[in-house]
Subunit: 343 residues, 2 copies
DNA sequence: CTGTTAGCGCCTTCAT
DNA sequence: ATGAAGGCGCTAACAG
């Protein structure tokens, strides 16, 4: 391992000078600078990052922890995060929380130990208090995605889950559906709760009663969507539309629906959530809600960078969803009502 | 930031002693050990990872670079990699190569600079020479996934792409298909080449001529599969089966096929590659080839760990695919031939 | 412009 | 069993 000392000796200067040309700090005579460069090349010198970070108290990197690596969703997130971090000249370091709150917290600590300049946390499972506590136990800026924390509002980047779900279900109702089933996203997560609440509120708005039989608690996997939908069908639960907590489950549900001899959307309308790539290729195209994950992670990173540079920051407005209407929803049995409203 | 010195002062011992209890090295009297622990807790001491790594010359982590973060494929890879690394007590650090050979190389260097104990490289784009060169320019063990390097055979974990593709197409032929179209995986990657070669060999084996019109060069995205398939259909290319370079493109193609008024599998049989989660939920279920990515990354990490511990290693046998037969393939027009072979 | 001298926080002989 | 001292590789005043 060739060190700075080796280079300095070879170039006939001191370590300090080598350091200067390396970092472009201070004044160095053109000629000696060149000598140093030459020495570096000849020796194939590569600065030791650890030593550097230790001395600098900054590793020039930002850490990202996600609950889990699977799903298209985190793929997008990571991809965009990497690009954005790079744009700021920072290296992105990613870790996952193995889908458990404890590991999520450990992951953050690990990144903190590594002296990342800032940390971004996308947690599905940690409790609010735990997060808050983590925030001020962490010496570097910590931005939280997918959570709305009032005590740390300007460190949050979140999405109006409930509102988006509300809109989706509201849309279903205005299309004439009243018997709307729901397969929830994991109900032990705030996200799952919020989406379900959106469903419930939309029903309430239209005076539709809550029917426990129509609500199944899902796990976000395609298989779950399939199984639960199949269950409902077999149990004789009747519904003209199904709102799935995410697109993956909608995909699974679609198969169950067809296997039951039903058609989409003629017999049952289907609505998803996330706008996964495959949503577009399902047949019929799956109507779903688009969640601007790219913008969210971008914003989170930008905010983190600002904090690192001690620039002033402002709270980030909530992100909102957009309904992506494709062909999986048909007018429901109650259509007549909305088409020709009573006077 | 509380340091080891703070702890030592608080506990009334020297830094050396603190270091000893921290690492469990050397002999420390029970009582003083407890004092140190108490001091650490009271001060909420957290060792500085960088300093530690610098002194130890090991960061107790293994680096992983993937070409890109998107696709279910890398999700699995990352997930399993994280688990396996943890099992070995190592932290996993992930970076992506932004889908370009240069960045892939840079990513490896960056991880090397961070003094990872070992590095695992999944490259889609780097040339063989570049990889080889990188291997011996990197001071720590470097394992390469998805590439077969004869000059570094024991550092490679790869999959028999060509053979798997061959089997898939061979299967199609034995099912009675002779007009088999193909949408390739990215043709500038070894993977894309190998899969196409498998297709070609299978045709050759059965004396089926190469028809350029039946081969479209894809990009691995669903949209590409859709567009290219649509093109072929519109150009009047006739085929009874389509072999797609991956499941995503197969999904896209499926839609194009149906939009053309054709049925799967009655009119056109479809075969994918990868066994993506959605393959199972397509209707009919997509026949495809399973690629044991989990085992591959696991093996890669284990091999890396062995190298780190300077244990003896052996070359890893190639991984092979498995045909996953679902419902997207129907007997082709030539079925009679194979059912009742001429004597 | 350049060299000297201290650290950064931790580990590790070498004495005691 | 414990402390003192030097080193890991690099940066950052402070003198010249």
């Amino acid at each position: 391992m060739v060190t700075m000392l080796d280079v300095s000796l070879r170039a006939g200067v001191s370590k300090a000078t080598v350091s200067r040309v390396l970092n472009g700090t201070g004044q160095v005579k053109e000629s000696t600078r060149n000598q140093v460069f030459k020495a570096m090349e000849e020796l194939e010198y590569r600065p030791n990052f650890l030593a550097r970070s230790l001395a600098n108290r900054t590793s020039n990197s930002i850490g990202l922890v996600v609950s889990s690596f699977d799903g298209f969703y985190f793929g997008c997130l990571l991809q965009q995060a990497a690009r954005r971090a790079e744009l700021h000249g920072k290296q992105l370091i990613v870790t996952d929380g193995h889908d458990t709150p404890v590991r999520e917290e450990l992951a953050v600590q690990m990144l903190a130990d590594r002296r990342c300049d800032a940390i971004i946390l996308y947690t599905r499972f940690m409790s609010e208090e735990a997060i808050l506590q983590l925030i001020d136990a962490t010496p570097m800026p910590l931005i939280v995605i997918n959570r709305q924390l009032f005590q740390a509002r300007d460190k949050c980047v979140f999405f109006e889950q409930q509102e988006a779900a509300f809109q989706a279900v509201d849309y279903l109702v205005t299309q004439g559906h009243r018997a709307i089933a729901c397969i929830t996203a994991p109900i032990h997560t705030p996200t799952g709760q919020a989406r379900l609440m959106g469903y419930r509120k939309a029903l309430e708005k239209h005076g539709i009663g809550w029917d426990a039989a129509k609500v199944k608690y899902g796990d976000s996997a395609m298989t779950g969507g399939y199984t639960l939908c199949q269950q409902m069908l077999q149990q004789g639960v009747t519904f003209s539309a199904l709102f799935a907590g995410n697109d993956d489950m909608a995909l699974g549900a679609a198969k169950a629906i067809r296997q039951a001899g039903l058609r989409i959307p003629q017999d049952i309308s289907l609505f998803g959530f996330d706008d996964a790539p495959s949503a577009q290729w399902l047949e019929p195209g799956l109507s779903t809600v688009y969640l601007p994950i790219d913008s969210m992670i971008t914003t989170a990173i930008d905010q983190a960078i600002k904090l690192v540079n001690s620039e002033p920051i402002a709270a980030i407005p909530p992100f909102t969803g957009t309904l992506v209407l494709r062909e999986s929803v048909a007018p429901g049995p109650g259509t007549r009502l909305s088409t020709a409203p009573a006077r």
